[in-house]
Amino acid sequence: MSDTITNTSSDLDAYRQQMRDWLAANLPARDPHAGLRAAHEISAEQLAADRALQKKVYEAGYVGITWPTEYGGQGLSGQHQQIWNEESRAYAVPAPGGIASGVTMGIVAPTLLAHANEEQKRSWLPKILRGDELWVQLLSEPGAGSDLAGILTRATQDGESWILQGTKVWSSGAMSADFGVCLARTDWDAPKHRGLTWFKVPLRDPRVTVRPVREINGSAEFCEEFLDDVVVADDMRIGELNEGWAIANSMLGFERGASRDPGAVRPKGGGIRPIAPDLVEIARSRATLTHGHVRQLIAKAHANDVMHELLTARVVSSITKRISNPSAASYIKLGHGILQPLRACAAMEIAGRTGIAWSADVHAHGETAATNYLNGRIMAIAGGSNQIQRNIISERLLGLPREPNFDTNKPFREVLRTARNWGTKGE
């Protein structure tokens, strides 16, 4: 926000030193082996403790560093933020609710900053920064995934209020969160993109049921929410009536930014990337590292890893330099979506029988391979499936002629009817 402010280097040095002292005195060191805690593993006590710690960081001035002061931020420059990023890396910076905190800070807060009205921003954002409120997205539905604009949750106006009814799903971290930003249909006679509106919905409301979704691998990162005539006041509406699609697009942009895996890019000068260590370990445990076939699988996986890393750098650079249009990001997503399943399958191939059964007592490479196999297509489906990416690439990057369209130009009511009766009238 305030990148135009010129910071003298001595100011920045002082800022860094002060921060270092504060970090050393107030935060525990980061456990380098600890991943992000899984949502369903976070106890209420843990959540409360993390919230308290976030408030402490906030009060020290290290949350919302670049955010405007009127919304609870510090109004400092990107350079200050960069210093925090560097200095805090070694510390266990609190993330209350795990993924819920990431969604709140990385996706919801930037969306509110861009699209909420002045009063909403002054009221809501400071609480978010302080750790008082965790917010998640209520976006996908059981019947609307790839075709997000096809959602069926309805918001019906009732005087000064809105009554929300519908089911949302795949909401990361909702079991820990206080509020959701919810996309609902407010006009069924408009084309599908033009009848959508956003609302703030309290998740602790008795008319909201939050249910963890048990996943294929047994864990539960996501939730399903049932909105059973939840009533919210009109000042809980975010953005203009029926203009919600633009906000959704803007939010999806923040989501892509937040989900860019920083671990995928090797630190500069960090030496040669080791060859597929996970696969090598499995092969070593089975004593098949000398098998020509296994070596080919390992080298192929490694080559794909390296090449995708190089592709990612190229695409990011070409978008940044405006050589490519932003849709080129779909190359990165599609690459993940194609390669991760291949890699998961290769690991199982190398694991062989050790990937279908293992001892409960000892750490087994096969178990890891099996779990990765079950999760292997997540990048091929979530956040825009491979098919969606291929549509984007072919039409927006390669300029191939568009597919005929059966939904964007007619009343949504009619779209639903036509889809149900597809083929019966020779569409």
């Binding site: 995934g145 048990r214 996943e215 029988r353 990937g355 059964a357 489906i381 291929r390 149900r420």
Partner: protein, 390 residues
């Protein structure tokens, strides 16, 4: 829509039997099998057994035996018998439905052991266990792989001849249903040659350690043998049992491939139906050419698997000269394609396929597990080269 409803709608309810040429007796047998499964262990009950350490109920096993599930490879004089007289061709009918309906239990190992005993055991040895197997009162399994799951021709268990018997030491891995088995047919090594021993699981020194399995309806275990003493009558057939092992492997693969075909057919059928029901962008997703073309390929692969599974069962039943090579050929192909089909079915389903409640992942788990249970595709390919003299 529930799994069963989907199966009914997709026509998988029997009419998609992989064998095009069943006799009317076999068709009736198939129908009875399906009716039994749907009544006794529909998917809701199958799911309840996922956390059960044994994985199935002995009472149910007895009822299944009444249908003849464990008698098809047992000679009549020992209480066996099959519908068509070609026992393996009847057995693959059951195997296919077990896969399609995700049934638990020791169908595979019981039938493999039955065949082994019928072909190589003495009348006394047969009388000891075959009637029990055929009747479902006795559970038997085949201990064939080494501790790491590899085919070792028995090298991992050393049997030393003693006065009046043998002492066994070593271990077998990835043994199906060892947890609940009464009898173990153990592949071992006698003076450098392979041999098979029929041993009671309760014999002192036999230790069974259950494994955690990817396939939630399959029970596997490690079995170790510590100074296990058996008398001479435990030896089945002669020492030098390589031919018997090969033959049992062929029977195992014929049953396993048929089972996988059932799994894949269920998976594919519910995917095709899902793509007709699910709408996006104003159309059923199954009307999008990209998905249609994927499903056309899956259809081709599935038809090819069916053709292969039937041909394999026939070749093994007839002891045709090409049975050995065909077993590896079909197992390698079905094993690879099972993963490809599972991956694409998951893709077409999208998010719902990732939920525990939806049955797709159960099918996926069994498909992947079957691809390795009696040898991985690359192992089958290597053996295929060897079988062809390369």
């Amino acid at each position: 829509m529930t799994f069963t409803e989907q199966m009914v709608r997709s026509g998988a309810q029997g009419s998609r039997c992989m064998d095009l040429e069943l006799t009317s007796d076999q068709l009736l047998f198939h129908e009875t099998t399906v009716r039994f499964i749907d009544a006794e262990l529909p998917m809701t009950k199958v799911r309840q057994l996922h956390d059960d350490p044994v994985g199935y109920d002995r009472g149910w096993l007895g009822k299944a035996a009444e249908l003849g599930w464990f008698a098809m490879l047992v000679p009549e004089e020992h209480g066996g018998g099959s519908v068509s007289g070609a026992g393996l061709l009847d057995a693959v009918i059951v195997a296919e439905e077990l896969g399609r309906r995700m049934q638990p239990g020791p169908f595979l190992p019981m039938n493999i052991v039955a065949a082994a005993l019928a072909e190589h055991a003495s009348p006394e040895q047969c009388a000891r266990v075959l009637p029990g197997i055929a009747g479902g009162e006795v559970v038997a399994t085949w201990c064939v792989s080494d501790a790491d799951g590899n085919w070792d021709g028995g090298a991992g268990v050393i049997a030393v001849a003693t006065e009046g018997g043998f002492v066994l030491n070593g271990s077998r891995g990835y043994v199906q249903d060892a947890q609940s088995a009464d009898w173990l047919l153990v592949v071992a090594n006698v003076g450098g040659a392979s041999a098979q021993f029929l041993i009671e699981a309760s014999t002192p020194g036999v230790v069974v350690v259950p494994l955690v399995t990817l396939d939630l309806s399959r029970r596997l275990a490690s079995v170790s043998f510590e100074d296990v003493r058996v008398d001479g009558s435990a030896l089945i057939g002669a020492v030098g049992a390589d031919g018997a092992l090969e033959r049992q492997l062929q029977i195992a693969l014929a049953l396993l491939c048929a089972e996988t075909v059932g799994v894949l057919d269920a998976m594919f059928s519910i995917t095709v139906e899902y793509s007709k029901d699910r709408t996006a962008f104003g159309r059923p997703i199954g009307s999008f050419q990209a998905l249609k073309h994927i499903m056309a390929d899956l259809g081709l692969w599935l038809e090819t698997c069916k053709a292969g599974a039937v041909a394999l069962a026939t070749a093994v039943e007839q002891r045709s000269a090409e049975a050995a090579a065909l077993a590896h050929t079909v197992a390698a192909y079905v094993g690879d394609v099972a993963t490809d089909i599972a991956q694409e079915c998951l893709q077409i389903h999208g998010g719902i396929g990732y939920t525990w409640e939806y049955d797709l992942h159960l099918l996926l788990r069994r498909a992947r597990s079957n691809s390795a249970l009696y040898g991985e595709p690359s192992w089958h390919r290597e053996r295929l080269c060897v079988a062809h003299g390369l």
